[in-house]
């Protein structure tokens, strides 16, 4: 039995769904950021599977760029969390309402 493209696509769809659920249901901002990383990761899995099945390197170059952007996003996001934590002393998303009023 050969593992084919469909299995990888199904797995990455499941992982992406879990990332979305984590982003929507958890209230800790750091865990929400981690869910975003999970989503980016599942998209990378899709890209690599498709690129390998088509024999085209462009998808893997795109994965490389996605990883760089994910690193930049994580750095800036965590810096924002630190800055907000200094003011509000919480990372609960329901208690952070800086734009209200």
């Amino acid at each position: 039995m050969e593992i084919t493209l469909n299995w990888y696509l199904t797995l990455s769809a499941l992982l992406f769904t879990m990332g979305v659920l984590g982003f929507l249901f958890r209230r800790n901002v750091i865990i929400m950021l981690m869910s975003i990383e999970l989503m980016l990761n599942s998209v990378n899995l899709t890209l690599v599977a498709l690129s390998q099945s088509m024999g085209d390197s462009a998808g893997q170059v795109l994965v490389f760029f996605v990883m760089s952007v994910a690193a930049a996003e994580a750095a800036v996001g965590l810096a924002l969390i630190i800055a907000i934590f200094r003011n509000k002393l919480t990372v609960d998303i329901t208690k952070i309402n800086l734009f209200k009023y």
Binding site: M18, N44, A72, L78
Partner: protein, 169 residues
């Protein structure tokens, strides 16, 4: 055959790790589950013959980004650290056995259903995923984007330092 068994083991572990990340109360435990998930996905890249991306996955995601996450969690003092003195071997072994069982059952069901169209051609895939063929494309066709990514990372570093810096009151 080895690759398909490996796929099912890694896929089961990756899904369970994602679930563990969603469900655990402690942020540190959550981050550790995510690291397990990232390692499993790196193994999946290896089953796809994309060795360069697998190495980069471990280096960048599991190595750099997750260390950043754990560092921030500990900096903010959000959670008590897991007690390192007692490693619960019973739970670790039962987790591994459970993953093996899940992989085996999925494998058998997939085998019975036999829902397999086009197989990946392995020789072509190994040639596409190697570091040298990726570097050829990356430094010729996508050289401009590569430079722009460098500038983006510089901007993100400076931005992170400026945002996280304590403001003089």
């Amino acid at each position: 055959m080895t690759v398909s068994i490996l796929f099912f083991v890694l896929a089961a572990a990756a899904l369970t790790a994602a679930l563990g990340m969603l469900l655990s109360r402690n942020p540190v435990t959550s981050a550790l589950w995510l690291i397990l998930n990232l390692f499993c996905v790196a193994g999946l890249y290896l089953t796809l013959n994309a060795e360069f991306i697998a190495v980069i996955q471990v280096l960048v995601y599991a190595g750099a980004i997750m260390v950043l996450f754990l560092f921030v969690i500990m900096l903010l003092n959000l959670a008590s650290l897991p007690d390192l003195k007692r490693i619960e071997w019973k739970r670790i072994i039962s987790f591994m056995l459970g993953m093996g069982l899940l992989a085996m059952l999925t494998f058998i069901i997939a085998h019975a259903l036999d829902v397999m169209p086009d197989p990946l051609s392995l020789d072509l895939a190994a040639e596409t995923g190697s570091a040298s063929s990726l570097a050829k494309v990356l430094f010729t066709q996508y050289a401009m984007i590569f430079e722009v990514i460098g500038i983006l990372l510089l901007a993100a570093t400076i931005g992170a330092v400026v945002i996280a810096k304590r403001k003089p009151v």
